[in-house]
């Protein structure tokens, strides 16, 4: 997060946003605060863990959008996995927990790699239910998974939006820079 570090109002020509320049600083600050608050919330609630921070540290000049790139890949794959899990579980001729186990394992690995702690824990619960051969238990676990996944997805999208706005704000604020 290296934009908008400079809080002083710049004397550069008016920002393209139409807001007076002196306000841009406020906007940028507010955005930054929003982002931090959201992250803090996610960490406190145990939704994300420090692995997410590691992802953020992996961002560099060659991959400035690393985090959003990876998270989007994750979402894309996860949706497939969740759909597969659901269809396997709802299948009238239930074939067994093996296949589910494979999907689940992948989902677990993927989620834990991006730091989605709560989802990973929900996966453990799912795995336990499948080990007990409890189809109902698996269904419940799956629902929880889906719920947590949707929640995380929304929050992360929100976070990325804030990031984007910050970039815009910084760019607008310091049009010469970049």
């Amino acid at each position: 997060m290296n934009f908008a570090k400079n809080r002083t109002v710049s004397t550069v020509p008016a920002a393209k946003t139409g807001l007076p320049v002196w306000m841009m600083g406020l906007v940028a600050d507010r955005l930054r605060a929003d982002a931090n608050r959201l992250l803090a919330f996610l960490f406190n609630q145990g939704i994300l863990d420090e692995q997410f921070l590691q992802l953020q540290q992996l961002r560099d000049e060659s991959s400035p959008n690393f985090v959003s790139e990876v998270v989007n890949i994750h979402f894309h794959e996860s949706e497939k996995l969740l759909r597969n899990l659901r269809s396997l579980l709802m299948d009238r001729e239930f074939s067994g927990y093996n296949k589910m186990g494979i999907h689940l394992n992948q989902f677990m690995g993927s989620s834990s790699s991006i730091g989605a702690k709560r989802i990973r824990n929900a996966c453990f619960a799912f795995r336990a239910a499948s080990e007990q051969n409890s189809r109902a238990g698996c269904l419940r676990a799956l629902e929880l998974l889906e719920h947590d996944y949707c929640f995380l997805k929304n929050k992360l999208h929100e976070l990325f939006q804030i990031q984007q706005q910050r970039v815009l704000a910084a760019g607008a604020r310091y049009p010469m820079q970049n």
Partner: protein, 669 residues
């Protein structure tokens, strides 16, 4: 270095599983010099994981550690890459659960073929899972999420292995080792230079107590390949020799000392052989475990158990064959024996049938089957790889592949009495069978030259493929296989393993792109058959059932068409009725098959599967085509040409494609 890494990064796309062959390759060479300075920076890592998220994250982390990363989302593709670029990687990170191939299988193959350190990863951190990883021989087991700090340390596994390898060599004569290395390295294109580089880098870290070795290494400065290497490179050739020796002695009675004597390889030490034997035994145990899982009876069963062979040939095929009554029990038994390394004596009795390709005996180690199937040395090589390559992606294929795996060992050895009925186990056998559709080339014992062989290749689809297949249905895909040697290969020979697999009855062997169905017979063959008889492979199909009588599966008659789309990616065409159903072949062939497929090589029969890297085929450039075709949608970025150059050591899998119609025409004299 950073720039190179960036290049690599840019080459690797996160979305698809592409392997950065180019990057890897270039970095291989380019980084050699730098490695020693900045070790562990520049360590070449191959990451295999079906989860794209993790793959991307790991790639980024590894680049941060200044390693050179190649990613791959499919195990088979990764295996192909490893074979193709031997010596281009220092360490492998692999996921445990992958859809196309179990991570442990990959581990096994790598351990046996390339002896690289493999680190397993999984989200499953339970003790039992970790234990399993260790037991399978993984150097380490990382639990996801993997942190960068953990990745920073993976270089220790590379060093450790080298150190241990070094120790092993310390006991052996240093001079001999140099020679041995030289020999061993001939086959491995990249091995020597790469090893050198890595060795150089590791020198400061290693405690070389045996200074003599160092001296020797330095003496041979002119030829990088002969510089002292800490460990023996078990090339395909070498392994083949090893397997033959083991077969001759019998797997139970094989002792390192005697194996060493039989192999008669200068510079090889008893310790090298001993450790390799140990690995080999583990490997066999595992395969037999696999085959037994399927309810297949122990392959070691006596004659008459057609099912036994299943493991070898693929359950489906064998049963089919047996069912169709085409495989004489003896041949099955013989096959079994062959595969399992039974003493040759047994085989001799058992084998009297199978029409095996008869290859001209040019190689000293050719094994002549009663019916003229000769086991060519090169074949052996292929077999080696083939055995490795049979990680099965498809269920039906699995059996087959495992079967094949075993074959090489056995067959190779029949160097003994000429008409021993040794089967050239390689995949070729099966293919040959396939070829012999109607088989019979009853030309018993012709150990003659290629021309003779020609007619003998009868692919009998029924033999291998589905029981319901009639021989006529043997059709391999569209492209005929034309085996032509060096330049004459009209198409690259592609042995479509799909034949073997029971996919759809006959899975199409076609991997080839060529769909021209004409089996070119003679002309091609003659060109094709290299000094060593090519046929053995073909004939080795135990299934020769019908051929049995005639044996001579004339390899020559087989025209293999190598397809470009090889590996697994058989583009194939139609999968269905085609005996060699392509589609799945994609899967089937994937595994390694391609590697072994066409070992069209001097002195090698068309091996069914040859590791990509090990394939030395005289085949011409008709190019066996890409080994990894993209058609099939594999997500690997391949180097466009894997051609069988004449001298190419590239193992290009050759897929034999047997035209649908009549194979007989092919074999008509």
């Amino acid at each position: 270095m950073i720039a190179m890494q960036r290049v690599m990064q840019s080459n690797v796309s996160a979305s698809a599983a592409t392997t950065n062959c180019y990057g890897g390759l270039s970095s291989c060479k380019g980084e050699e010099v730098m490695i020693s300075d900045q070790f562990p920076a520049g360590l070449r890592v191959l990451v295999v994981d079906d989860d794209i998220t993790c793959l991307r994250i790991l790639e980024q982390m590894l680049c941060r550690c200044l390693y050179i990363v190649t990613t791959c989302s499919q195990a088979k593709v990764a295996l192909g890459l490893l074979r193709e670029r031997k010596g281009c990687f220092d360490v492998i990170l692999s996921d445990v659960y992958m859809p196309d191939m179990d991570g442990y299988k990959l581990l096994e193959h790598v351990g046996l073929e390339m002896d690289l350190p493999v680190i397993m990863m999984s989200a499953d951190g339970r003790t039992s899972a970790v234990m399993k990883g260790i037991r399978h021989g993984a150097c380490d087991y990382l639990i996801k999420p993997v942190r960068e700090e953990e990745l920073k340390n993976i270089w220790q596994h590379v060093v450790r292995k080298k150190f241990n390898g070094n120790k092993e060599l310390e006991h052996s004569g240093s001079l001999d080792d140099a020679d041995m290395h030289k020999q061993g390295n001939d086959d491995a294109e990249y091995a020597s230079s790469v090893n050198d580089a890595t060795n150089a880098s590791l020198k400061p870290l290693k405690k070389r107590s045996n200074t003599k070795e160092d001296d020797d290494g330095e003496i041979d400065n002119d030829d990088p390949s002969t510089s002292k290497k800490p460990r023996v490179v078990w090339s395909v050739e070498l392994h083949q020799q090893f397997v033959s020796a083991v077969n001759l002695l019998g797997i139970d009675k094989a002792v390192p000392k005697r194996i060493l004597e039989l192999m008669n390889v200068p510079g090889l030490t008893r310790e090298n052989v001993a450790s390799h034997l140990q690995k080999f035994r583990l490997y066999l145990k595992r395969i037999s475990g696999v085959t037994q899982q399927g309810g297949i009876s122990n392959p070691l069963c006596g004659p008459g158990e057609s099912n036994v062979k299943i493991g070898l040939l693929g359950r489906f095929n064998i049963q089919a064959l047996a069912a169709s009554g085409q495989i004489p029990p003896q041949s099955l038994a013989a096959l079994h024996a062959e595969l399992l390394g039974q003493p040759t004596g047994n085989l001799a009795t058992a084998m009297d049938q199978p029409a095996l390709l008869q290859a001209s005996l040019q190689e000293p180690k050719c094994i002549q089957l009663d019916h003229g199937v000769t086991f060519v040395q090169p074949l052996v090589k292929c077999e080696y790889s083939s055995f490795k390559h049979f990680p099965q992606s498809c269920a039906p294929v699995e059996d087959v592949t495992s079967g094949f795996r075993a074959w090489p060992f056995n067959n190779i050895c029949r160097a003994g009495p000429g008409n021993n009925g040794g089967l050239s186990s390689q995949n070729g056998n099966i293919l040959i069978d396939l070829l012999q559709q109607n088989q019979q080339l009853q030309k018993p014992q012709q150990q003659s030259t290629v021309p003779d062989l020609r007619p003998s290749i009868n692919v009998q689809p029924s033999c291998h493929v589905a029981p319901s297949q009639s021989s006529a249905s043997f059709q391999v895909g569209n492209s005929p296989v034309s085996v032509t040697q060096n330049g004459s290969f009209s198409r690259t020979s592609v042995i479509d393993y799909s034949l073997l697999s029971s996919q759809s009855n006959c899975s199409s062997l076609s991997i080839g792109q060529d769909s021209d169905a004409n089996l070119q017979t003679t002309g091609d063959l003659s060109g094709y058959i290299p000094p060593a008889s090519v046929s053995p492979y073909v004939s080795s199909c135990p299934v020769n059932v019908e051929n049995c009588a005639s044996q001579q599966v004339q390899a020559s008659s087989m025209t293999f068409k190598t397809s470009r789309n090889l590996p697994g990616f058989v583009h194939s065409t139609s999968n269905n009725q085609d005996p060699y159903g392509s589609t799945k072949t994609g899967d089937l062939l994937d595994q390694a098959p391609f590697n072994n497929l066409g070992y069209i090589n001097k002195g090698t029969c068309l091996p069914a599967r040859f590791p990509v890297g090990e394939f030395q085929s005289p085949l011409s450039s008709s190019s066996l085509g890409k080994v990894f075709s993209e058609n099939i949608g594999t997500r690997m970025k391949q180097e466009p040409n894997m051609e069988f150059g004449d001298s190419a050591k590239v193992g290009i899998p050759m897929l034999l494609q047997f035209p649908q119609n009549d194979l007989t025409t092919v074999f008509t004299e």
